[in-house]
């Protein structure tokens, strides 16, 4: 029995999570601290979302408390004709300089998910020249989908091409998180061809991650490609101590990424190479921070050449360049002698800690302080986001069949305003839109086309959301000049103390269309976007005859 428990204990000790794994889980939890979002089905809308997280985490995930750097970059480039994207460039430079691809190795939830999938026991596809060349595909994706397409559509219509056509994280976290909630049944009406494509891609990425180590990171992730540019400059990460390195190449062999050198643009600084290095030549950058000048006793150079410790196995003349080598442990001992035993002071019988012992104690203290601080930050975040922060209020009685709350909004391009109760002579179609919302901007021409045919039978007002990122007047004048539909600006209503969008049940889903009959009864209220004027005709014309 004792033996059995001892075996169980041994198993847990052998399989306990590494510090890196704990940091990855911590980061994933911190990025998605808004756990109540998974319960309510709403995404977090607080101020912390103006800050980008360093790793890959979709901001449409119900739990996300920060913005995705890649999504933000694409949107910033899409809006670059009106606003210089300096914020996102600045933050990416700072992330890249401080952490570089250590973010990939330690702080990315997508990386964590892939590593866990890779643990599934299947034959694995090992790295090779083919995978090395394929790792450059992510630079092509970065150039085409993240930079060029959003830039080419800048000032026309925002197109975050990578997010829209490729990103599996958005599909898994965003769509998965939102659709799984019973409160979001109406989102199912939005699923179509795009979802089908992205779902298929997600399945392929998941399967790929089972057979290839970090399938998405290595071949497709543009964020890793960006951080890879900072490989030589990043302040934190792994580096080689050239005085100890013997160029044996075991570090490259041990690494599952497509590195050519430790710390190059493919290295995610996971530290797997450190345990493979026989001479302990791979260290963390900045490790001198934990040592004072007087504490840094560089060990004496190796007295015998390393070749004396190398045992070549199965060597033939032809295979001499690629023989298996067995590095004996003696080599590592010769270079890194065990810490000197504590010396007792003979007179006072007091134990004097050596330099190595002091350094170890200081590192331990720093580690405890770091974990304690991290714990406090995580717990505070969880408490704040889930118990203290209040979600935006939404009106009541906005469902189909209810009487539509009255509202008044200012009309763009004139001094007039639009009041619902003063326009009860016809069916009223209210479309909530925004300049920063791609489907909104894409569908407005269909509303105009519909209105040009049925304008004598309906009122149509397109109300821009209260969140404004550019001159809406100028936008309308440029994109929708000559349009007959009424453009208006949302505002907080005196009666309800909330804006019209919230009054009609809108939280964070755009565009939203509400149709109100002549008696003020809501006939339709949905976030579905329209892909043609015919869709509108098919929906609204039957309501006109009723």
């Amino acid at each position: 029995m004792k033996n059995f428990f001892a075996k169980i204990k041994d198993w847990f000790v052998k399989h306990k999570p590494t510090k890196r794994r704990l940091i990855q889980v911590y980061a994933a939890l911190l990025y998605n601290a808004n756990i109540k979002g998974f319960v309510t089905g709403n995404i977090y809308q607080g101020a912390s979302k103006q800050f980008c997280l360093p790793g890959f985490n979709c901001y449409s995930c119900p739990g996300a408390v920060g913005a995705c750097p890649l999504g933000s970059l694409q949107n910033a480039l899409a809006a670059s004709k009106t606003t210089v994207p300096s914020y996102i460039f600045g933050i990416i430079i700072l992330f890249g300089l401080t952490l570089g691809r250590t973010i990939c190795g330690f702080l990315c939830p997508a990386g964590l998910a892939q590593e866990l999938l890779y643990k599934i026991k299947t034959p694995k596809v090992k790295k090779s020249k083919a995978t090395y060349v394929l790792s450059y595909l992510k630079y092509v994706i970065l150039a085409v989908f993240v930079v060029l397409i959003p830039l080419m559509y800048s000032g026309v219509i925002p197109v975050p091409a990578f997010c829209k056509y490729i990103c599996p994280v958005g599909t898994a976290e965003g769509a998965g998180g939102l659709l799984a909630n019973p409160n979001n049944d109406d989102l199912f009406t939005l699923l179509g061809g795009l979802f089908t494509w992205k779902f298929i891609l997600l399945v392929l990425f998941i399967v790929g991650s089972i057979f290839f180590f970090r399938f998405f990171c290595r071949f497709f992730c543009p964020l890793g490609a960006i951080y890879g540019f900072f490989c030589k400059l990043a302040m934190i990460g792994v580096k080689i101590d050239k005085d100890k390195c013997t160029d044996c190449g075991l570090c490259i062999s041990a690494c599952k990424m497509d590195v050519r050198k430790v710390g190059d643009h493919e290295c995610i600084h996971c530290g797997a190479c450190m345990s493979a290095c026989p001479t302990k030549a791979i260290v963390w950058k900045g490790s001198e921070m934990f040592l004072k000048g007087s504490d840094c006793n560089t060990p004496a150079p190796l007295s015998k050449p390393l070749s004396e410790f190398l045992k070549k196995t199965g060597t033939t003349e032809e295979t001499q360049e690629s023989a298996d080598v067995d590095i004996s442990m003696q080599a590592s001992v010769e270079i890194n002698p065990a810490p000197v035993q504590m010396q007792e002071n003979a007179v006072t019988a007091k134990v004097v800690p050596t330099v190595a012992e002091r350094v170890k104690k200081r590192n331990k203290t720093l580690e405890i302080v770091a974990w304690a601080t991290a714990g406090v930050v995580l717990v505070s975040s969880l408490v704040y986001y889930n118990f203290i922060h209040k979600d935006a209020e939404v009106g009541e009685g906005y469902e189909v069949g209810c009487i539509a709350p009255d509202f008044t909004v200012d009309v763009y391009g004139s001094d007039e305003n639009f009041t619902l109760s003063e326009n009860k002579d016809k069916l009223t179609v209210v479309n909530f839109w925004a300049t920063w919302c791609t489907p909104c901007v894409a569908e407005l021409p269909y509303f105009e086309e519909f209105y040009s045919q049925y304008g004598d039978q309906v009122n149509l007002v397109a109300i821009h959301g209260t969140a404004v990122t550019e001159d809406v007047d100028a936008f309308i004048a440029e994109k929708f000049s000559g349009y007959e539909i009424t453009f208006a600006q949302d505002a907080v209503q005196a009666e309800t103390e909330m804006n019209v969008y919230n009054t009609y049940g809108g939280v964070n889903s755009w565009p939203t269309t509400v149709i109100i009959d002549e008696d003020g009864v809501i006939l339709y209220n949905s976030s579905k976007s329209f892909h043609s004027a015919q869709d509108l005709i098919d929906l609204i014309v039957p309501m006109l005859s009723e």
């Binding site: 949107n75 606003t83 700072l94 990122t469």
Partner: protein, 267 residues
């Protein structure tokens, strides 16, 4: 016992890989069936639930297989993989070249000439690859920076056309790179064989092996790295602050607090 376990692992690996592919294919098939159903509302919670139930059995089998595999692997763990350290052939070649004496016998001269020819072939292979990449970059850039190729009324069509323009060049460059790597490996082996023969033929007159002193690469010079870091930190902070004042921060917030429906496949 070890042999038995190896066989068990192999069979399990093949079977599980097939099962994984089958389950993935089932998921893809189900979503395609729903998409092609032609219903007015393609996806509803009920339809999705129904389709998931249809493939529940293979999914459960897959999960059980994962658990089973993890249990077996923990009871009988894999042997630790031996690391395979490859010598750098280019360094070996350079070192051999540096050992050759200045005056060589005629036979050795021929060997060295042949080795140089192989070196020339390697260079040509890389230049060809560079040319293919350059051509691809030029063609794709010319296409991608032309606003006429990015009309707002057919975004999906335009993006598909862009991908169809870039993809063949990407595939071409990839195949070319693979070919160059394979050729280079072969050429290096030829060069090494020739140089070894030349070195063996001049064994009595070889120069002393001199440790190749390499120039410190620019980004390994501590002063350069420090200077660039300071510069980039200053640039980063400046851009960050400008971004706060020019509305960049607000733009990020506005996008992040609203569901990006197309980003998550809703649309």
């Amino acid at each position: 016992m070890k042999e038995k376990m190896r066989t068990v692992r192999l069979i399990y690996g093949i079977a599980f890989s097939a099962l994984t592919a089958a389950v993935a294919a089932l998921f893809i098939a189900q979503v395609l069936i729903v998409y092609n159903s032609g219903a007015e509302q393609l996806f509803t919670r009920e339809i999705v639930g129904e389709k998931l139930l249809e493939i529940l059995a293979p999914c459960v089998l897959w999960i059980l297989a994962i658990i089973g595999g993890l249990v077996v692997w923990n009871i009988h763990p894999d042997e630790e993989e031996k690391l395979h350290a490859e010598k750098d052939s280019k360094k070996t070649l350079k070192s051999l070249q540096s050992r050759l004496p200045d005056t060589l016998a005629e036979e050795s001269q021929t060997l060295v000439e042949q080795s140089k020819k192989w070196g020339m072939y390697r260079l040509i292979a890389w230049l060809t690859y560079a040319a293919v990449c350059l051509a691809g970059v030029i063609v794709c850039t010319v296409y991608m920076v032309n606003p006429a190729h990015f009309k707002a009324d057919n975004i999906n069509g335009e993006v598909t056309a862009a991908v169809l323009t870039v993809l063949p060049w990407t595939i071409g460059a990839y195949c070319c790179a693979l070919g160059v790597f394979v050729f280079e490996n072969h050429a290096l082996q030829q060069q090494l064989a020739l140089m070894k023969k030349a070195v063996a033929a001049n064994a009595k007159n070889l120069k002393k092996a001199v440790e190749q002193t390499q120039k410190t690469p620019l980004f390994e010079n501590k002063k350069v790295v420090f200077g660039v870091r300071i510069g980039l930190i200053a640039v980063g902070i400046t851009l960050f602050v400008i971004g706060i004042f020019n509305g960049g921060l607000n733009d990020v917030l506005v996008k992040a607090i609203n569901i990006c429906t197309e980003c998550i496949g809703l649309g």
